[in-house]
Symmetry: C2
Subunit: 183 residues, 2 copies
């Protein structure tokens, strides 16, 4: 996320999956990746038993960023009202957040479920009170326009910072979501 709240730029397409200037949000994964940045991703993957992703993100990434195959070592569940004609190993398609969570829990068992995004899916999970932890990778840019992670109408949510790791291209903050404390 940029400091001004964007997780992608404008004009997203398979050719420009992060939108205009959006790759700067991922400098910590690519252009300016350090060992510490790499460990963030390794830890995330290691603890994870299933991934949940929105259909729009899938469509933008599958043939571009993901090169036609799943980049995830565990099953990825795509929330979608339709199933694409071309099936790709590692992905399952299901309608709606509730069924996706049910399937993910069965697959992940005691491991974490990673809600990867995009923003629309993340917001649905936040509004439904389904998020236990948030990993925010805060990129040192103001992007100015694009796709907001939180939108403008999140429910009031009390968080607790439980881990912070600073690298040249991001401040990585892991938050625990504390429920129903809206004093």
């Amino acid at each position: 996320m940029s400091l001004d709240g964007f997780v992608a730029g404008t004009n997203i397409s398979p050719q420009l999956p992060m939108g205009e200037n959006g790759m700067r949000l991922h400098d910590w994964i690519f252009a300016r990746k350090t060992d510490a940045d790499g460990r963030i991703i390794e830890e995330l993957m290691k603890g994870c038993g299933a991934v949940i992703i929105g259909r729009h993100t899938y469509d933008v990434a599958i043939d571009g960023g993901w090169g036609g195959a799943s980049p995830f070592p565990v099953p990825a569940i795509i929330i979608s009202t339709t199933v694409p004609e071309k099936q790709v190993d590692g992905f399952r398609f299901i309608k709606g957040v509730a069924d996706a969570v049910k399937m993910a829990k069965e697959i992940a068992a005691e491991k974490n479920i990673w809600v990867m995004g995009g923003a629309n899916i993340a917001q649905q999970f936040i509004h439904a009170g389904l998020i236990d932890e948030m990993q925010i990778n805060l990129a040192p840019i103001l992007l100015g326009k694009g796709v907001k992670l939180f939108g403008d109408n999140c429910p009031f949510t009390d968080l607790e910072g439980i881990e912070i790791i600073e690298t040249p291209a991001a401040v990585h903050i892991k938050y625990k979501v504390k429920r129903l404390n809206d004093t």
Copy 2:
């Protein structure tokens, strides 16, 4: 700033200067202040030769939060098209950003000029390219609604994190603004 970008809640008034739930943004200054939080403010004040503030912030704070007197050890310049009838020591009123900056530079000499806010003034300074450093005190909450620090149309801005201090009620990040790097 809340993690979702707000620096005040809704329904701001002299009785509720930070808006609804907005005091939670300042837990690090009041309810949950630690020595490390205190040092953030001390350092800010120590380096500062003049303060610039918007008129709306002045009107909301002067008789409430500030108890009728300037809380600043240095002159505070209020950007305003009018001058209030009741004068308060320590405040000067001037029209527009350019004249405020000129006055502040004369007063501060080699010391820093602190653009305190509110958000409207901060955005005017960002759009004019007048900010050298940003001190973001990131509160661990999603506020959901209120006044956004950056709005939705900041110019693309490249930042560099130069100091980070973690306390229970905030992640304090000081950014240096790097100009005109919009690759």
